[in-house]
């Protein structure tokens, strides 16, 4: 009776949880409903976790003597894991968000791999279908774990240079094939179709070892700028692994939530890669040599430096200003100071818009989050496709800490490494101010002809300091008039 009731409750709660997770993700797709979407999904997760302790009534006979210890271990792991992750998730800086997501994602992959490991070591999977699915989930989950850890280390700048070894891709391919071969051999052995040369436990260890190695070696050659796409790929991987292990455990909630993320992650990866004008296959499987010397379009004109105060006052008298923020703004922690300046302009009747390039920041959409953190309302923030025609009529384009995303060479110079990338048309504004630390080049390492254009003026300095100087200049103006 108790067994029946517990199964009924778990079944019902998991059904509700699967719905809430899906509904929550759906609500997350608009800024208006998103904050409630994550809460809805959170409720689903919480009830599913609480209900999962009802599994104590249906444990295998072999595990029954260990039950008290297992319950204590489960509760301990839950409190420890959730506690540490919650604390670090609350504390982490918004600029460090991509790393945090990578790390939490790796944990999910590791959990799926660990579930698979228990199934494999205990030889619990019944039949060859279950064995193969378990092994596949183990492989994907483990690659996601080790790959995500490398991605985290790269984004956290613990690992600085991408690894370039000739023939590494070939070696990686060989490792993957060898891993799959060991997996296939193991599946046959687990199904009792053959007597293995090595004990199954050793084979399982070799299998996991190869998966870990593959995840590490696959991620090491990829450059830091491509990491968001890689994290998104591993996010989809973890989802897939969770879905597959859900099938092995015969748990539909895991299957649904896992596959939902698998598909969503895949689409998100494609969207991001498209925004960056890169192909996913190229990012993942081509080890770039040192960037080849590219032919540069002829540069005409000169750099014209101006004082921040002049720029600030000019914008105060403009009708409309479009701001193009880049990672340099976030690196200087200048978002709040920039918004102070914007509020001052708005008070003077200037129409201000933020134009966000899809790859601004370290992760697609990260600049939106950074501006939101500073309190910028989301209806002032416009995306590339919506804002690009407005540059023609704008009085001023203010480029802060961005470079390659406003390089007009992307439109016309075929030999440029960024040729074909969609850019923000800052060069079409009547006047353009560029806030930069110095004359350095952007991430792509190329000179930006926009900076030399007739109507472009350079404001040198730290983005935050420049914003403060501009604000003070405009305030001083008001004080002088009064």
């Amino acid at each position: 009776m108790l067994i029946m009731i517990s199964q009924l409750i778990i079944g019902g709660v998991d059904l509700a949880a699967a719905f809430l997770l899906m509904f929550g993700l759906w609500r997350m797709s608009s800024p208006v409903t998103a904050p409630s979407g994550i809460l809805v999904a959170g409720v689903g997760m919480l009830v599913a976790v609480v209900a999962s302790f009802l599994y104590v009534f249906t444990v295998d006979a072999a595990a029954r003597p260990h039950l008290p210890a297992n319950i204590a271990l489960a509760a301990g792991a839950l409190v420890l894991g959730a506690g540490v992750a919650w604390w670090s998730g609350r504390k982490v800086a918004i600029t460090a968000m991509p790393q945090a997501v990578a790390l939490f994602n790796g944990m999910g992959g590791g959990a799926a791999a660990a579930i698979a490991a228990v199934e494999l070591f205990g030889n619990r999977a019944q039949g060859w279908v279950a064995s193969i699915v378990t092994l596949l989930g183990a492989l994907i989950g483990t690659v996601s774990l080790s790959g995500s850890v490398i991605a985290w280390a790269k984004l956290d700048e613990l690992l600085k240079k991408p690894l370039h070894v000739p023939g590494l891709q070939l070696f990686n391919g060989a490792i993957l094939l060898a891993g799959l071969a060991v997996g296939g051999y193991l599946a046959l052995s687990l199904a009792g179709a053959l007597t293995p040369l090595l004990p199954n436990t050793i084979l399982i260890e070799i299998f996991f070892g190869m998966a870990v190695l593959y995840g590490i070696l696959m991620t090491l050659p990829i450059g830091g700028a491509d990491m968001p796409v890689v994290i998104s790929v591993y996010n989809a991987f973890t989802g897939l692994a969770v879905g597959l292990e859900g099938f092995v455990l015969q748990n539909p909630a895991l299957m649904i939530a896992g596959m939902l993320v698998g598909a969503a992650g895949l689409l998100l990866t494609l969207l991001m890669a498209k925004a960056m004008n890169r192909s996913v296959v190229k990012i993942l499987f081509s080890s770039f040599g040192p960037a080849a010397k590219q032919k540069q379009g002829a540069i005409k004109g000169s750099l014209k430096p101006v004082q921040p105060s002049d720029a600030g006052i000019f914008m105060h008298y403009a009708k409309s200003v479009i701001i193009v923020p880049g990672y340099g703004l976030a690196a200087a922690q200048g978002q709040g100071k920039l918004y102070d300046f914007v509020k001052l302009l708005q008070a003077g009747g200037v129409k201000v818009t933020f134009a966000i390039h899809p790859v601004a920041g370290r992760m697609p959409g990260q600049m939106d989050v950074l501006l939101a953190e500073a309190g910028v309302p989301y209806d002032l923030i416009k995306q590339l496709a919506d804002v690009n025609d407005e540059f023609k009529t704008a009085d001023v384009a203010l480029v802060i800490g961005a470079n390659d995303v406003v390089n007009p060479d992307a439109r016309t110079v075929k030999s440029s490494p960024i040729y074909g990338m969609p850019i923000l048309n800052a060069d079409q504004a009547k006047k353009c101010y560029v806030v930069k630390r110095g004359d350095g080049k952007g991430y792509a390492g190329i000179v930006n002809p926009l900076f030399y254009a007739d109507d472009t003026y350079m404001v040198y300095g730290d983005a935050a300091a420049v914003c403060v100087a501009m604000t003070e200049a405009v305030r001083g103006l008001g004080a002088a008039a009064a």
């Binding site: 899906m22 904050p35 999904a41 297992n70 959990a111 799926a112 455990l249 939106d368 919506d386």
Partner: protein
């Protein structure tokens, strides 16, 4: 009588197919402004793996299985709790014009939620335009 269900290979494929389609459609309509919170949010959703971890650990019958199961729950709960914490923090920061600035505190997030609903009409109209 038991409520134990068995999901065979083909039923599983049907579930996977329908769910994958749903995931694709749901993400397809997300504006670029939400890409980062969404990656984090979907990262949270696969934290459900902790439920599988708990099931596995409760059924562990050897020290090795207990050890691995412990890590499954530890990592899975980290995925879920961390994913929720960062996603909720990011989403609470998205404010429409006219809302009180700063969504850092829990209180602020709560307030923003109320305001968001009151201006949802305007925002929806804007969304339609774009």
């Amino acid at each position: 009588m038991t409520f134990q269900i068995t999901i065979g290979g083909f039923v599983a494929l049907y579930i996977f197919m329908v769910t994958a389609f749903a995931g694709w459609v749901i993400i397809g309509r997300v504006p670029a402004i939400l890409h980062t919170p969404l990656m984090s949010g979907s990262n949270f959703v696969h934290g459900i793996v902790v439920v599988g971890g708990i099931y596995t650990l409760l059924n562990a019958s050897s020290p090795l299985e207990q050890l691995i199961g412990f890590f499954a729950v530890l990592l899975g709960s980290g995925n879920a709790a961390g994913g929720f914490a960062v996603t909720q923090r990011m989403l609470a920061m998205f404010q429409p014009s006219g809302a009180p600035a700063g969504g850092h505190t829990k209180h602020g997030a709560h307030k923003a939620h109320g305001t968001a609903r009151s201006v949802s009409k305007a925002a929806r109209a804007q969304a339609k335009k774009s």
